[in-house]
Symmetry: C2
Subunit: 434 residues, 2 copies
């Protein structure tokens, strides 16, 4: 006789809202590292973050109900760091270091709340902006992306029967585990979850993280998701993002200041963090320009995270640059994190194995690969290229060039000015899938 | 916060036994059809059924705990047909016919109990015999097989972690659904579940039946499992089995009576059942011999179920036989049920499409195909060829020759005698996988 637990059933059917983001720790670790520094050095900067859907063919505002989106964003604004979370941030070691977060920063976090948002629909898309102090708007990036992506998943799943869902998740799990078994063949693999922002959903990301932990053992070094890291006793992984050079360049008064902004970021960073946190992100305004203009001390940093050049080409360029400066690449670290999946991880691993230390940040193709899994054959669960980028700082337009023109963001006139400053060497257009 | 329903958890951890067979309807429909006739015509016959493991390499008694096996068999003996089940058997129509089961048979079923069993271990295998009236021992065939097969599955699953099990069933579901999608390509397919006896487990069979219902719509015509048919409003499917000619041949006093036993079975059967239930099983002592010796009226039956010759070869032989007797095969039905899987279903369907009506009974490869699904890479979940066959009737040895010598059962001297009576025409040895 089937036993129905009536209380549970009634509770499950009475939810007003099934919140997507339930903790302020459900964000990427690098946001907290950057936030501590931003609060220290740039507490007065105003920065606007904006949602940008690069996959124009998906008309998000026709897929996602605006009221549902507002309800989720509103719910995220009710969240506060819990005592348990703050104690863990203060007491845990990160990257082998105790007290990564200063007591005054922890105290400040206790009061933290996500700021207001500005949402309206334009031509089938959402205009979603976060306007206010950089120290607050920066924290919207990950929850906003996770919310929009999961609402899109939910819309695609709506109306599917219990059995169809069962098959869909069975296929996704089988697909994921096949990837794990392929990655197992790489004995020196170092890999982490970078999939929070574009995940299918929170529970699915959690399952994927459990799968990596179960299947890869200590080759899986952790998750960028702070909440999952805390709950699963994993390392929280991450360093810094494009918003740092983008804001510092935007705040510059002269072209010369723009040109040196990427290195000022590194000076600021190394005043705060050391060791494996000294990972430079070279591609905000083009990797080739960054390397050409870099002071010699940048070669003393632990490594780079090439994020928009094809991984093998980007890695080779950086290795040559280290060698030209007399550094041994075998002591250096490259972190590959741009749209990686098993094929490119295998190829990159095999290409560089023994020549440089490597680590892989596996994002969207880890936590949102439902391609071919829908029994109804639909494509609505396939990931899209959605980002939340800083678009202005103190009222001045912010720009990202990237190594891939398809990933550039910002006002066209400003992009043209930045291209004059940094040049176009090494920039090659590639399709952006995720 | 995770909510644990404490009452449910305590209940789940307090089970003395997780019964494999929970209803006397959890058996194949043909057992009930045969039973009604056996009780009518042969109520005094004593028949012994015995478990036969053709996969000698699997030493069942070293895999399955004898005490657990006894506990499951003992539990099955506590079962009685419930009022609801008897009302359904009496009130439901089967094969389009009302009152398939006579009131006195239903009344007799109300008192039915599985008889005693005789179990001991010999050389790593179980000797399991059911001795007593044919009317009772026949009903052990399916539950005994289901119990042994599921205990073997449980032994293989013991010690696996929650995550490993999750991946295992995800893979099995994905594999099963890929099969459904292939079968969907066959527009005139007629298929049913014949997988009770060698299923991985009851819940898994139920899932597979749901999958066929969901994926194939009315191309899925029903299940041989009476309980699943009742619970899912499906047709119960089945006709008759080898035990009928085996017992009638065993009871014969002369070689001439042995030779005609297969046709006496058909005479008895057509006195009880008509229409689509008139399906002859030709291979008990060789299909070629059966067709050669068959009276002309056998060609008026609805069809055949070739069960040990390769499906295309067996079907061609029967079609030629119909044609030689002036019958139009396009009005006739062939039911293929011998170790079928998607490849052989597709090939057989394409070969005969338009030339004869076809139906497929999909058994072990439907309900017990976990090949390649175990994340640990083991083979303990792969199906074995386990049968429960009648071995004697009124103390005389019972024999099955089959078209495939690998599927023959019985005393070697008796097999030799039967081969002299029926000849060896058309018999070809093939591997028996399931």
């Amino acid at each position: 006789m089937p036993v129905t637990d009536i209380a549970t059933r009634v509770y499950n059917h009475g939810w007003r809202l099934d919140p997507i983001v339930r903790s302020l720790l459900d964000t990427d670790f690098y946001k907290l590292l950057m936030l501590q520094m931003i609060r220290h050095l740039h507490p007065e900067v105003q920065a606007t973050f904006s949602l940008i859907n690069r996959t124009k063919s998906v008309r998000l505002a026709e897929v996602i109900d605006e009221a549902e989106l507002r309800a989720q964003l509103d719910h995220a604004r009710t969240l506060r760091f819990s005592k348990k979370e703050l104690i863990w941030l203060a007491g845990n070691s990160f990257y082998g270091k105790q007290r990564m977060f200063a007591p005054d920063f922890i105290a400040w976090l206790a009061e933290f709340q996500l700021p207001e948002y500005d949402l309206h629909k334009v031509d089938g898309q959402f205009e979603l902006h976060f306007v206010g102090p950089w120290t607050h708007t920066t924290m919207w990036e990950i929850p906003a992306l996770a919310i929009v992506n999961e609402l899109r998943s939910r819309a695609a799943l709506k109306g599917k029967g219990r059995f169809e869902l069962d098959v869909l998740y069975a296929r996704a799990k089988a697909k994921m585990w096949d990837k794990v078994e392929r990655l197992r063949q790489l004995p020196d693999l170092v890999i982490s979850d970078f999939g929070t922002r574009r995940r299918h959903g929170f529970l699915w990301q959690r399952w994927c993280v459990e799968a990596l932990k179960e299947g890869l053992g200590n080759r899986f070094i952790g998750s960028s998701n702070v909440l999952l890291a805390m709950d699963n006793d994993l390392e929280a992984i991450g360093t810094n993002a494009h918003e740092l050079p983008m804001v510092l360049a935007a705040l510059s008064d002269t072209d010369e200041q723009v040109a040196t902004a990427p290195y000022r970021v590194l000076e600021e960073w190394q005043a705060h963090y050391d060791g494996n946190l000294r990972i430079a992100l070279p591609d905000a305004f083009g990797t080739t320009a960054f390397l050409q203009g870099a002071p010699d001390w940048v070669a003393d940093w632990t490594g780079f995270r090439p994020d928009s050049m094809p991984p093998i080409e980007g890695g080779e360029q950086i290795i040559a640059w280290w060698q030209a400066r007399g550094r041994d690449p075998r002591t250096k670290l490259l972190i590959f994190s741009d749209g990686m999946d098993v094929d490119s991880i295998e190829a990159t691993y095999r290409h560089f194995h023994g020549r440089v230390r490597m680590s892989f940040g596996w994002g969207t193709n880890l936590t949102n690969d439902f391609r071919g899994c829908d029994p109804a054959g639909g494509h609505d669960l396939e990931p899209i290229s959605l980002v939340a980028k800083v678009t202005s700082a103190n009222g001045r337009p912010a720009v990202k060039l990237s190594d891939n023109p398809a990933k550039a963001t910002g006002d066209p006139a400003e992009i043209a000015r930045y291209l004059r400053i940094f040049g176009e060497a090494g920039r090659v257009a590639q399709d952006v899938a995720v």
